[in-house]
């Protein structure tokens, strides 16, 4: 779960001011400390931790995900996968700073339950002094690093999708699709799950309510507290927990991948020709880098360098190892051999599953989750895929969507204090501190299931519409000759390997 609410003064130099005016601006800054003394200032440790986490998540996409997927395709398409992932990361970063961050993490007015507005388009009003809230009262981080951290999530999510229809998608069509998908699917999803007023806003409103003495004042304060609580995305208000992006990132990308591979169709020769991974060495390197980067993804989503980050860190370690072993042993039992691809696929399935639960579950609960996710994802990537016959090149659906669903629903169970989880948090009862909130497993699991179902329908239908539009306007798929030749030469005029 990540959140957003800026505090402190939205103070910035007018654009028209040239370098000569900066000195005056700084003088004003120095002369007006009162404007900044009001809000908390970021701790250096938190800033450093978030900067490192941001780099780690970037490393998940490039080179991690690119190599993980790249190793799974045939030699003639290796370079195309690397190019697609790298280009998507760059494109998403540009869109994010232009309007993505604003659509995800600002108040969207009448549409606030679904999507943000354009008030921070082109990072308007965000200065080095701007801060974003965390999950602790009175603790903030620079909004710029918060924005950059969230940017890496917007970079990797659309890149996850390409694995589903690798080896046949047209590069130009893919870029257009990614631009549309981020705008109409990802930013609203991020807003609906992660946008809320923040602990300080809740505490301030709750304090006001507690201080109110007359009935009129109480009623007014209650209205204000309700307004603060209502200032959040729809899934957040449903009470759905998603620590680091089980719904927003993995189910979202996984279902889009499935829809995409169904609309684009199977690769030529699928099921008849040899389509073995060209380099499981690359895939193993990629999976290992994903694991490494995922510490930033999950523990960084704590937004502070605290014990909560340490919990997410440990969970990211043990759930992954458990899932890798689960896949390995299940495959060993059913197929006769323990495979490297099975081991690393299980690791990624475990990483996906622990993502929504990383800051909520306890380590032992995380291990159980990893074991279950590894076995279920194995079943989907082997049996279910073969029964339905869809050509999901790198098993984006089987690993990310299914792993995400398992993790999202399990989060509702594993958050239970009785099971070693951290429980739910209430910022209003004792304003200024995070108190334990009432937890009912059935209620929480239902909230999780609702969020999962909503994500599947919203992203599944929305992605299908976008794929169809791009297919009609540009054409999603390369020609038969280009597919035979390989996308490396056909789309990029290069080869991955020249030896």
């Amino acid at each position: 779960m990540t959140l957003m609410r800026t505090t402190g003064a939205p103070w910035r130099l007018p654009r028209a001011l040239g370098p000569a005016a900066v000195g005056i601006g700084l003088a004003l800054f120095a002369g007006a400390p009162a404007a900044f003394a009001a809000g908390p200032t970021p701790a250096k440790g938190d800033v450093a931790w978030m900067a490192i986490s941001t780099i780690l998540v970037l490393a998940m996409s490039i080179p991690g995900l690119a190599l993980f997927y790249g190793g799974l395709v045939r030699t003639k398409n290796m370079l195309s996968v690397l190019t697609q992932v790298f280009a998507i990361v760059c494109l998403a970063a540009m869109i994010w700073v232009c309007y993505g961050y604003s659509l995800a993490f600002t108040d969207g007015g009448s549409l606030n339950s679904f999507v943000g507005g354009f008030s921070k388009a082109f990072l308007a009003g965000i200065t080095p002094e701007s801060t974003a809230g965390t999950f602790s009262n009175g603790v903030v981080i620079p909004e710029l690093i918060y924005m950059a951290f969230q940017m890496t999530f917007a970079c990797i999510t659309p890149a996850l999708i390409v694995g589903a229809f690798a080896e046949r998608v047209r590069f130009s069509a893919l870029l257009v699709f990614v631009g549309l998908w981020l705008t109409f699917i990802y930013f609203p999803m991020a807003h609906m799950v992660w946008y809320w007023a923040g602990p300080d806003a809740v505490a301030a409103a709750a304090r006001e309510l507690a201080a109110a003495t007359t009935d009129t004042a109480k009623a007014a304060a209650q209205i204000k507290l309700d307004a603060v609580n209502a200032d959040a995305g729809m899934l957040f208000k449903w009470g759905a927990l998603d620590f680091a992006g089980g719904t927003v990132v993995h189910i979202n990308a996984g279902i889009a991948g499935l829809v995409g591979c169904l609309i684009i169709g199977k690769r030529i020769g699928y099921g008849r020709e040899l389509m073995a991974p060209h380099s499981l060495t690359m895939t193993m390197i990629g999976a290992s880098l994903l694991w490494l980067g995922w510490f930033g993804f999950n523990a960084g989503s704590n937004l502070e360098a605290t014990g909560g980050a340490a919990l997410a860190f440990v969970n990211t370690f043990v759930a992954t190892a458990a899932a890798a072993l689960a896949w390995m042993f299940v495959e060993w039992a059913f197929k006769g051999k323990a495979s490297l691809l099975g081991l690393v696929s299980g690791a990624v399935a475990g990483l996906v599953a622990i993502t929504p639960a990383a800051g909520f579950a306890g380590p032992m609960g995380s291990i159980i989750l990893g074991l279950v996710a590894g076995a279920i994802c194995f079943f989907f990537c082997t049996t279910v895929k073969n029964v339905f016959g869809y050509d999901d090149t790198a098993d984006v659906f089987g690993v990310h969507c299914i792993g995400g669903i398992v993790g999202a629903i399990a989060t509702g169970v594993l958050v239970a204090p009785a099971l070693g989880g951290v429980g739910l948090v209430d910022y209003a009862t004792n304003p200024g501190t995070a108190s334990p909130a009432a937890y009912v497993m059935a209620t929480q699991v239902w909230a999780q299931i609702k969020a999962v179902l909503f994500t599947i329908v919203f992203s599944g239908v929305g992605s299908a519409i976008l794929f169809k539009i791009v297919d009609l306007v540009i054409g999603l798929r390369v020609s038969v000759e280009e597919e035979r030749e390989g996308l490396d030469i056909a789309d990029h005029g290069e080869r991955a390997y020249n030896y």
Binding site: M275, S339, T383
Partner: protein
């Protein structure tokens, strides 16, 4: 002059080279090839996808020798490459019409 061409198991290459060197054969061409004979292939499983891989990696060696040395060469290769297991490979002998060493212009037996 004859060309002795042998398809052997890749891990037997060094032993074959040693045997030929002991025989006094100077020069050998090696190619990595794929193919199948009675050994047929094997099954590979990548997640849910099972592939019958019918072409197995082998090494093809080619060595040109004077006619008088053919029998010894064939025996040396066969002796070094044999494991007794299926898939040890095959040896073929064909005639050479002409040979020429590019650097010196020597021909036929002198060029070998």
């Amino acid at each position: 002059m004859k060309i002795v061409m042998a398809i052997i198991k890749p891990f037997k290459l060094e032993e074959v080279r040693d045997a030929l060197t002991a025989l006094g054969v100077h020069g050998l061409t090696v190619t990595e090839v794929k193919g199948y004979g009675r050994q047929r292939g094997h099954t590979e499983i990548y997640r849910g996808a099972e592939y019958a891989v019918s072409f197995l990696p082998k090494v093809k060696i080619e060595v040109a020798v004077p006619s008088a040395m053919v029998e010894a060469t064939v025996e040396a290769i066969a002796g070094a490459a044999r494991t007794g297991q299926i898939g040890d490979g095959k040896i073929f002998v064909t005639s050479i019409e002409k040979a020429l060493r590019i650097r010196t212009g020597e021909t036929d037996d002198d060029a070998l």
